[in-house]
Symmetry: C2
Subunit: 156 residues, 2 copies
DNA sequence: GGTTCGGCTGAACCACGTTCAGGGAGGCGA
DNA sequence: TCGCCTCCCTGAACGTGGTTCAGCCGAACC
């Protein structure tokens, strides 16, 4: 994981459709070398997969909310089972702090959020929920590379 | 956006490296037709970009936390400016509920989280923060397609 | 029945991914 | 110092797959 790998990762995260020739030019290597580097990044699990980002509004789910769930007892599996198959649930974590679980859900409208919350209370052990409705989103991205301070330019 | 488009979107989100031939076979169309459909999904903004998912641990940021920020006054721009350039901040929203902002940050270790929180208080107007440390993550994904109930099979 | 429009097929072309033999630099032990 | 080994690179060759397009079909509308 040197500076070149980080540059490649950054470029691919911006646009995974870039050609190896483009990447190669950007880091001043041959296509073969870049191909090998990217292959290894995948193999090592640094690059998990290549995917497409979808627009939640276009998919008909413009309402975003975070739900803090407080439970009685350790009911991880039940909550997990209730969420894993549901694409409306984008995040589900156990947390230390003011709640047991934190989830991020995206739904069609407030009425659907209500139905969702109702269904949460059907899970045995769920005692209380607190919901934070998102008003506006300024940043919503995924793990990215840190900017490199001392980037090296190729010698002429 | 018919059932075929949704199937294509789902397949591409799973693996954007799929060939058009694969996609075509999956929905029983020609490669040309699939190519055109995907092109339109991009053009309409349903597919925002194609990218790579990175592994936060491999990138050296295994600690995940959500921070509720309470402020005095409407300081959206200041918080925004402080976060937009920082890849450690993965989510930043204004919310209605128990706080003004909700952010999701990924850092190297607890000490770095402390430094991050400290820097938050340097933003004029920030009065209080509450942090939820993530213990374990069960779901962490992006907006996805809802499963289609009445999927149509091609006639023989 | 005629016209238009959107979407599909199938094939052709060529860009790009993928592989590999060869070479050079750096580290290590004798 | 020399030889060896390893790692990573280059550059080119090959074939897969992306991309385009003319032609066709069915639905909708007049």
């Amino acid at each position: 994981m040197d500076a070149i790998d980080r540059t490649l990762i950054g470029l691919l995260q911006e646009d995974a459709g870039r050609t190896y020739a483009d990447l190669a030019a950007a880091v001043s290597l041959s296509t073969g070398a870049v191909h090998e580097r990217v292959r290894k990044l995948r193999q090592r699990g640094v690059i998990v997969r290549t995917t497409v980002d979808l627009d939640a509004k276009s998919l008909g789910r413009p309402v975003l909310a975070f739900i803090l769930v407080e439970t009685e007892g350790w009911i991880t599996k039940a909550v997990h089972r209730a969420s894993i198959e549901d694409p409306r649930v984008e995040d589900l974590h156990t947390v230390a702090g003011e709640a047991n679980f934190l989830m991020k859900v995206r739904v069609e409208d407030p009425a659907e959020l209500q139905r969702f919350l109702r269904s949460l209370y059907d899970v045995e052990g769920v005692r209380r929920t607190r919901t934070l409705m998102v008003l506006d989103t300024y940043v919503d991205r995924r793990p990215g590379v840190l900017p490199v301070s001392g980037e090296s330019s190729p010698p002429d």
